[in-house]
């Protein structure tokens, strides 16, 4: 629904744009550095994944509302946990919007994909050998509508009535469906592959667990 209209909410001054970007980058790094034991290899892999998904989003931008970031955020959230998932979502949003258009909406897109990553962290997709693809497909469809709703909030101003917003959402339904279909396609094609690739990075939760266990053992 986001691309159905040409209006993206308030126009920001360059300074306000910069403040939002700095805050988002700060949030992403804050989430990443809270990881107690992140190896250099893990950082390289995550950065590579951020760059790849950013490039894919820019590449697919001409296709209306086909968003590879959504499934990627789901999988990162599921495999690496909510905090790294949110950091991933924020970084991809910032980097890709620097190339395809930055503004007030960046905040809402980052929030939307962060929410998707948090949703992903609640999934139990099993392991690479016993991958529960059905759960991923259902989540991929639901997350399209969730993201589009959150991103659409960017057009809301004090002058927007509930009825205005409802009509706006209604206009975007074909694009929501397209987003869901795109997500499903990405999930079917690359879900298992990405899930397995991310498995080589220990999840934050696993790391925390191992740290706690170390202390317990040492104590």
């Amino acid at each position: 629904m986001f691309q159905a209209f040409g209006v993206h909410g308030p126009e920001l001054t360059p300074f306000a744009d910069m403040v939002i970007d700095v805050l988002l980058v700060g949030l992403a790094f804050a989430l990443l550095v809270t990881a107690p034991r992140t190896s250099r290899h893990d950082v390289y892999l995550l950065v590579t994944f951020v760059a790849a998904v950013t490039a894919l989003r820019v590449l697919l931008q001409p296709l209306p509302n086909v968003q590879p970031v959504t499934v990627a955020a789901l999988l990162v959230g599921a495999q690496l946990g909510a905090r790294r998932g949110v950091a991933f979502a924020v970084l991809v949003t910032l980097l890709s919007n620097l190339l395809i258009g930055d503004g007030w909406w960046t905040l809402f897109q980052a929030a939307g994909w962060s929410a998707v990553a948090i949703l992903g962290s609640q999934l139990n997709l099993g392991t690479a050998d016993k991958f529960r693809s059905g759960q991923l497909y259902v989540a991929a469809i639901c997350s399209a509508f969730m993201f589009d709703f959150i991103a659409s909030l960017s057009i809301v101003t004090s002058a927007t009535t509930l009825s205005d917003f409802a009509v706006y959402l209604a206009h975007g339904i074909p694009f929501d469906v397209l987003h869901a279909l795109g997500n499903l396609t990405f999930a079917v094609w690359f879900g298992h592959f990405v899930f397995r690739a991310l498995e080589s990075i220990d999840s934050l939760e696993e790391l925390e667990q191992s740290v706690v266990e170390d202390y317990v053992v040492e104590g």
Binding site: Q3, A4, F5, G6, V7, H8, G9, P10, E11, P62, L63, P64, V66, G103, W104, T157, T161, S163, D164, V167, Y168, A170, H171, I173, P174, F175, V177, L178, L181, G182, L184, T185, V188, W189
Partner: protein, 557 residues
């Protein structure tokens, strides 16, 4: 079984690639001969018929040269010529070939009907050029300049001051009526009447008994034969530096303006569904199964005649200093797929369309050289002219599904789902622009208006039940009203902008045209409302009623 299906699909795809439909491409034509006609322009299309080519010139008016009508064999040998010593202006009434026939008023051999600029209509024998009969009509500065029409065993002639109907076999007059003054205006013949435009923008209806009535006054000048379409009578009106296109409802005489075009319109042509117009800015395609709505445009300058080369190619002279002819190909849905140039050794200003015979094209321009092109024997295909996208898309989708079916037969269900999803996504992407457009229209129709754009008592009463456009920037509004007949929100906006001197910048995208800025203001976007209801699709696809308040608002906070 599955393997056979896959093989059949691949075979079908291969055949489609190897044997595409052949297009009439410039590359497939070769100049066979050319003749420099003495001291004259060629301003109207030649005619190729039965081994002969007929062409007329329009004199330069230097020395003693006078306009002529020539007949050549298709091999380039001159058969006869006919000079008018008395014609008074540039002759541009197209020649009319009358195949031999008979009717209640007599019989006739193969003839060429010629309208001269001194007001004379003359009928010549096609075989030797001798005059069978002639009849004079009024001349005011010039006489006959428009296209003569055949109506059974009669000719209907657009004269300088009106119209006359003459028996083909002997020139006997059936009727002559006074209408408005004409210039290059032709006649539309329908079952019950004849329709003609004039230099004052009037559309006249003349019944078969010669009774005339003024049906509509559009202002401007009508310089072509009105065109009958399933949506009404189509006219392209010349107005100073612009032009407008109108539809006339023949039942009640009402007219609507459907488009604003560029300067100096060409003579439009039509087939069963589409009308093609030209002017100094664009060649435009209108779909008359959809109220003659604009489908596609190609930027060019063409101010004279247009011609169908085949069901889906339009040939036209580009009226510029080094102008050639151009060939525009349109799809079955009216979209322009390609435009290629047909260059000749004598490119330059021109208004005459080419003429097509069996494997031949005859053409001429202001250089006054008649050129005969023949189709080369070698079969050539031109990928530029052929619309490959749908066929390649279909082949790819079918092939992908076939491979998916094959994978399924091998129990590779994972790959089957992948391929099915890919096909589904690509198909959905292909239909999304149209689907979203229809969906948005349906949302608007079913949602209630908030009534914020209601009638303002300070507006003139003459604006009641007309089209009104409000432009709002930072709370300040400018309003243009009293507009009529615009079919889309974009056309209405551009009409208002023209009236109020707003500068509108429009960007074309796959999902339609978007207004990027008005008067240089971009903000974070422009949104528009129809009778207070937020519109949900691009303004070029949003239809508007005859009584509407279109409100553009700059978003900037």
């Amino acid at each position: 079984m599955v393997r056979r299906t896959v093989l059949a699909c691949l075979l079908l795809a291969t055949l489609s690639v190897l044997f595409p439909a052949q297009a009439m491409t410039p590359e497939s034509w070769k100049l066979e001969w050319e003749i420099d006609l003495p001291e004259g322009y060629i301003t109207t299309h030649p005619i190729i018929d039965n081994g002969s080519v007929y062409v007329r010139t329009s004199g330069f008016w230097t020395g003693e040269e006078r306009p002529q009508v020539f007949a050549f064999s298709t091999g380039g040998e001159e058969r006869w010529n006919r000079t008018s010593a008395t014609t008074v202006q540039h002759d541009m009434s197209p020649l009319l070939l009358l195949s031999s026939g008979f009717g209640p008023c007599g019989s006739w051999p193969d003839l060429i009907a010629v309208g001269w600029a001194d007001g004379t209509v003359e009928v010549l024998r096609a075989d030797d050029g001798t005059s069978l009969w002639n009849r004079t009509s009024a001349s005011q500065g010039w006489g006959i300049t428009g296209a003569i029409a055949q109506d059974g065993d009669h000719l209907v002639v657009p004269t300088r001051t009106g119209m006359m109907r003459l028996c083909i076999s002997n020139g006997e007059m059936d009727f002559e009526v006074e209408l408005g003054l004409g210039w290059r205006n032709g006649i539309l013949t329908t079952d019950d009447a004849f329709w003609q435009g004039d230099e004052s923008g009037n559309i006249w209806k003349v019944s078969r008994n010669g009774t005339s009535s003024l049906i509509a006054d559009l202002g401007g000048s009508i310089r072509h034969a009105p065109i009958q379409t399933s949506s009404g009578i189509f006219v392209h009106v010349q107005r100073g530096a612009t032009s407008t296109i109108h539809l006339l409802n023949v039942t009640n005489g009402s007219t609507v303006t459907i488009h604003q075009g560029g300067a100096s319109p060409a003579i439009p042509i039509s087939n069963e569904r589409y009308v093609v117009t030209g002017d100094s800015s664009f060649l435009s395609i209108f779909d008359c199964e959809r109220n003659c709505s604009l489908v596609s445009e190609h930027p060019t300058t063409t101010n004279g005649e247009l011609a169908w080369g085949s069901a889906q190619t339009v040939w036209y002279p580009v009226n510029q200093p080094n102008g050639n002819w151009a060939v525009t190909t349109i799809t079955e849905t009216g979209n322009i797929t390609s435009t290629v140039n047909f260059s000749t050794p004598h490119d330059g200003y021109g208004t005459a369309a080419p003429s097509f015979g069996e494997s031949r094209i005859a053409m001429g321009n202001d250089a006054g050289v008649l050129m005969m092109y023949v189709q080369q024997l070698t079969v050539t295909t031109d990928s530029q002219d052929y619309d490959w996208v749908p066929i390649i898309g279909a082949i790819l989708l079918i092939s992908t599904l076939s491979i998916g079916a094959y994978a399924s037969s091998l129990n590779r269900n994972e790959w089957t789902w992948r391929l099915v999803m890919l096909v589904l996504l690509v198909s959905t992407l292909a239909i999304t622009p149209d689907l979203s457009s229809r969906w948005s229209q349906s949302v608007i129709e079913n949602s209630s208006t908030d009534g914020s754009d209601t009638w303002n008592e300070t507006w003139p009463e003459s604006w009641i039940d007309t089209q009104i456009v409000i432009l709002e920037i930072d709370g300040e509004q400018q309003v243009v009203g009293g507009l009529n007949g615009y079919q889309t929100a974009l056309d209405l906006t551009l009409a208002a902008a023209d009236e109020a001197s707003w500068e509108v910048n429009v960007e074309s995208t796959e999902l339609g045209s978007y207004v990027v800025s008005i008067n240089g203001e971009e903000g974070s976007g422009w949104e528009y409302f129809l009778n207070g209801e937020r519109a949900g699709q691009s303004s070029d696809r949003q239809t508007v009623s005859d009584s509407i308040i279109l409100h553009w608002r700059l978003v900037r906070r």
